[in-house]
C-alpha cells in the first residue's frame, strides 16, 4: 500500500479558536515523522499461562499503512499476541513496540495511538449507537468541533447512519460488530487492531465487513493488524503470518505464499484410502495424506495428471477434484494439516486465551 504524505487534519485553524491549536503543530510533527517508522515490531514475544506456552517466541514487523493478518486455528496464540501488542497483557519475555513505543514501558503512549475491536462486544446496550460513539470520542479526546462530523463519517462508512438513534440492544450481531469497527476508527488511531472481526457472523455480513475494511484502507492512513481463522479472509491482507502452536510458521504476501506451494491440490475419494495412498507412493512417488476424509496430494499440473491416475492407480476412484493453490494449501504445506483439522485438535488450547476466559466468567 502506497504511503501518502499527510497533513494533520486537526491543525487547520479552528472555527471557534479553541485551544487545540497551540498543541496541534507539535503533534502534527510527531505524526509526520512517524510515517517512516515501523508501525508494529515484535521480537521473541513469549507468553506463558501457568504451564501452557500460548505464544512461544514470535518475531515480526509491520510497516506503516500495511494491513497485516495473523492467520491460524483457534488456540494458535493469535489473540494472546494481539493482547500483548494492545498492552492488555504483559509478555512473559520479549519486546514489542507499537507506533514507536514499548508496550510495557510506554503503555499509556501506545494506548493513545491504537484502536481496538475485541472479539467480544464491548458496547453499552442501553445507549444508542450515536451515544456509544460520543462516549468514545470524549474519552479519546477527539476535538469537540470534529466529534460530530467524525461520528457522521464513521456511521456512514459502516452503513449505520440511519440507525444512529437506536439502542444498541436492538442491533443484530453484525450491526454491533460494524458499530465496534466504526468506534475503533473514531479517534483516528495510528494502528487499528481487529481481533477476529468476523467471527460468529453469517457469510453475508462477513463480506460486508471486509468491504468496510477495504474502504477503510483506501480512506484512512492507518495500519491494520487483524487476526482471523478464515483462510479466505486472509486474502484481504497485504501480508500474512501463519501461526500454529504459538509460533509463526511462515510470513509473506498471500500471492507469494500461494506461489511457494506452486502445485495443484488433487483430492480423490476411494473405497480403500489406505491402498490408494500406498499405490500413489509406489507408482507415482507421491506423498498423499488424509484430509477431511479424502486422499489429498499435490502435483504440478493436475489436469494432465488425472487421466494417468485413472489409468494406472489400480484402486477404483469414486470422485476427484483439482484445485489451484489456496491459503488452505499454504497452511497444509507448512503445517501438514488443514486449518479445520488443526481447530479440532487445538480446541483444548483455547483455554489459554485470556479472551475465552473473560467470556466464560
Amino acid at each position: 500500500m502506497a504511503l501518502v504524505r499527510l497533513r494533520y487534519p486537526w491543525s487547520v485553524p479552528s472555527a471557534t479558536g479553541r485551544r487545540e491549536i497551540p498543541g496541534a503543530p507539535a503533534r502534527a510533527d510527531e505524526a509526520g515523522s512517524a510515517e517512516s517508522e515501523t508501525a508494529i515490531e515484535a521480537r521473541d514475544l513469549v507468553r506463558r499461562f501457568g504451564t501452557i506456552d500460548a505464544v512461544r517466541g514470535v518475531t515480526f514487523e509491520v510497516a506503516q499503512g500495511e494491513t497485516f493478518g495473523f492467520l491460524g486455528p483457534n488456540g494458535a496464540g493469535k489473540s494472546t499476541t494481539i493482547s500483548m501488542l494492545c498492552t492488555l497483557l504483559t509478555p512473559t519475555s520479549g519486546i514489542a513496540r507499537v507506533a514507536g513505543y514499548d508496550v510495557v514501558a510506554d503503555r499509556a503512549e501506545v494506548r493513545k495511538r491504537i484502536g481496538l475491536v475485541f472479539q467480544d462486544t464491548t458496547l453499552d446496550d442501553y445507549l444508542t449507537a450515536q451515544e456509544n460513539l460520543r462516549f468514545h470520542a470524549e474519552l479519546y479526546g477527539v476535538p469537540r468541533s470534529q466529534t460530530g462530523p467524525r461520528i457522521d463519517d464513521v456511521l456512514e462508512m459502516v452503513g449505520l447512519a440511519d440507525r444512529r438513534g437506536s439502542l444498541v440492544r436492538t442491533f443484530s450481531g453484525g450491526m454491533k460488530r460494524r458499530l465496534e469497527i466504526a468506534r475503533g476508527l473514531l479517534h483516528s488511531p495510528r494502528v487499528l487492531f481487529l481481533d477476529e472481526p468476523t467471527v460468529g457472523l453469517d457469510p453475508q455480513t462477513r463480506t460486508h465487513i471486509w468491504g468496510y475494511i477495504g474502504e477503510l484502507r483506501k480512506r484512512e492512513a492507518i495500519t491494520i493488524f487483524l487476526t482471523t481463522h478464515y483462510m479466505d479472509e486472509a486474502e484481504h491482507c497485504d501480508r500474512i503470518a501463519i501461526m500454529d502452536g504459538g509460533q509463526i510458521v511462515v510470513e509473506d504476501t498471500p500471492e507469494q505464499l500461494k506461489a511457494s506451494v506452486g502445485r495443484d491440490r488433487v483430492q480423490i475419494s476411494t473405497p480403500d484410502d489406505e491402498a490408494a495412498i500406498a499405490a500413489l507412493r509406489e507408482r507415482f512417488a507421491l506423498d498423499a495424506t488424509m484430509s477431511e476424509g479424502m486422499v489429498a496430494f499435490y502435483v504440478a499440473h493436475g489436469e494432465v495428471f488425472v487421466p494417468r491416475l485413472f489409468a494406472e492407480l489400480g484402486v477404483p476412484i469414486k470422485s476427484v477434484s483439482i484445485a489451484r493453490p489456496t491459503l488452505d494449501d499454504v497452511f497444509m504445506n507448512y503445517t501438514g494439516r488443514t486449518i479445520r483439522d488443526a481447530e479440532a485438535s487445538g480446541s483444548e488450547r483455547m483455554a489459554a486465551s485470556p479472551w475465552m476466559r473473560a467470556r466464560r466468567r
Binding site: A15, R19, R111, K112, L127, G141, S145, G148, P149, R219
Partner: protein, 322 residues
C-alpha cells in the same frame, strides 16, 4: 473610480481572510469542510493525555449514568416502592404501637422516620449505581473504559459523580412526600437536606465503587447487600433512635458512617416541626461519644473525610484493575 479601485483591492483580501478564518457562528461545519478537502485520506492522530481530556472523560462518564438512569423509568418507580413501604406501612404501624404523636402539629413516628427513609433511598440508589460497574464488566463495556487513554481516577470520579447525582435525584422524589408526614416545605430545610443528601450520596457511591473494583461476578452483589448495605442501614439510626440502646449495639452504631449523615438530617427536620423537648431529646438528640454530643459540623466534616477516603480507595483500586 477611487471607490471602485478600493473595492477591487479589498475583495481578494477579504476572501483570503474568510478562508483562513471560517465564520465563528458555524463551528462544526466550518471545521468539517477544510478537514474533508485536505486529502481523501484521513490522517491519524494522538488521543488524549492532557488534563482537559480527563475532565471530558469525567463529564462523559457522569452523563452516561444520567442517560441510563433517565432511560430506565421502571427502575425509578420500583426504587420508590421500598422507602414508601417503610415510611407509610412500617411507619404507620409503629406510630399506632406508640399510640400517640410526637407532639403538636400532628407529627408522629413517621415524621421521625422520614429523614431516615430519605437517607435509605440515597443509600440503596447510590450502591446500586456504583455496583453497576460489575455489570459493565460482565457485558464488556468496562474494558472500553479501561483501555481508553484517560487516568483511571477520571473514570472513578465520573462514575461517583454520576451515581451521586442519580441517588440525589431519586431521594428528591422521596423528599417531595414531606408534606404527607407533617414535615413543612421550608426552603431552608430543603436546602439543608439536599446538601446532606449529596454528601451521603458521594460517600456511598465511592464506597460502592471501591467494592465493585474488586468484584468479578454479578453474584457478589448479594454479598455486598447482606454484609455492607443492610448493616449500614440498620445501624444508621434511620429506623429507631440511637439513644438508650444496649451498649453493644450503641458501640456498633458509632462506627456506621451513615449515622453521621442521618443524624444531621433528622436534627434539621426536628428544627422545623413542633415536638415536646423530651421527645426531641429522645428522637433527635444527636450521636454521642462517651456522653458528648457530636456537633453537626463535625458530623458532616467526618462524613466528608470518610467520603474522600472511600474515593481514594476506589481510585487506587481501579488503578490496579485490568
Amino acid at each position: 473610480m477611487d471607490a471602485g479601485e478600493a473595492a477591487l483591492s479589498r475583495a481578494p483580501f477579504e476572501e483570503v481572510a474568510h478562508e483562513a478564518e471560517p465564520s465563528p457562528r458555524a463551528p462544526g461545519s466550518g471545521m468539517q469542510a477544510p478537514g474533508r478537502h485536505r486529502a481523501d485520506l484521513a490522517a491519524v492522530r494522538v488521543a488524549g493525555g492532557r488534563w482537559q481530556d480527563d475532565l471530558r472523560a469525567v463529564a462523559m462518564v457522569w452523563r452516561r449514568e444520567l442517560i441510563r438512569f433517565s432511560r430506565n423509568r421502571l427502575r425509578i418507580i420500583t426504587s420508590l416502592v421500598q422507602p414508601v413501604l417503610f415510611l407509610f406501612v412500617l411507619g404507620t404501624g409503629l406510630s399506632s404501637l406508640m399510640g400517640r404523636g410526637l407532639g403538636a402539629g400532628g407529627s408522629d413516628f413517621k415524621t421521625f422516620m422520614f429523614p431516615g427513609v430519605v437517607a435509605m433511598t440515597v443509600l440503596f440508589t447510590a450502591i446500586f449505581s456504583s455496583v453497576s460497574i460489575v455489570w459493565d464488566r460482565e457485558f464488556g463495556f468496562l474494558r472500553e473504559m479501561l483501555v481508553a487513554p484517560v487516568r483511571r481516577g477520571a473514570l472513578v470520579v465520573g462514575k461517583c459523580a454520576g451515581g451521586a447525582t442519580v441517588a440525589t435525584i431519586q431521594a428528591l422524589i422521596m423528599l417531595a412526600l414531606a408534606g404527607l408526614v407533617h414535615v413543612p416545605y421550608s426552603p431552608s430545610l430543603i436546602f439543608t437536606l439536599v446538601g446532606e443528601m449529596v454528601l451521603a450520596a458521594v460517600m456511598i457511591t465511592a464506597l460502592g465503587t471501591a467494592l465493585a473494583s474488586r468484584m468479578a461476578q454479578v453474584e457478589s452483589f448479594q454479598v455486598v447487600m447482606q454484609f455492607v448495605v443492610l448493616p449500614l442501614f440498620f445501624l444508621s439510626g434511620a429506623l429507631f433512635p440511637l439513644r438508650s440502646l444496649p451498649t453493644w449495639l450503641a458501640v456498633l452504631t458509632k462506627f456506621d458512617p451513615l449515622a453521621y449523615v442521618v443524624d444531621p438530617m433528622r436534627r434539621a427536620v426536628f428544627d422545623h416541626v413542633q415536638a415536646a423537648p423530651a421527645v426531641r431529646t429522645l428522637f433527635a438528640g444527636g450521636v454521642t461519644w462517651n456522653g458528648w454530643t457530636v456537633p453537626i459540623g463535625l458530623e458532616l466534616g467526618l462524613t466528608a473525610v470518610v467520603a474522600a477516603l472511600f474515593l481514594g480507595i476506589a481510585i487506587y483500586a481501579f488503578g490496579k484493575t485490568d
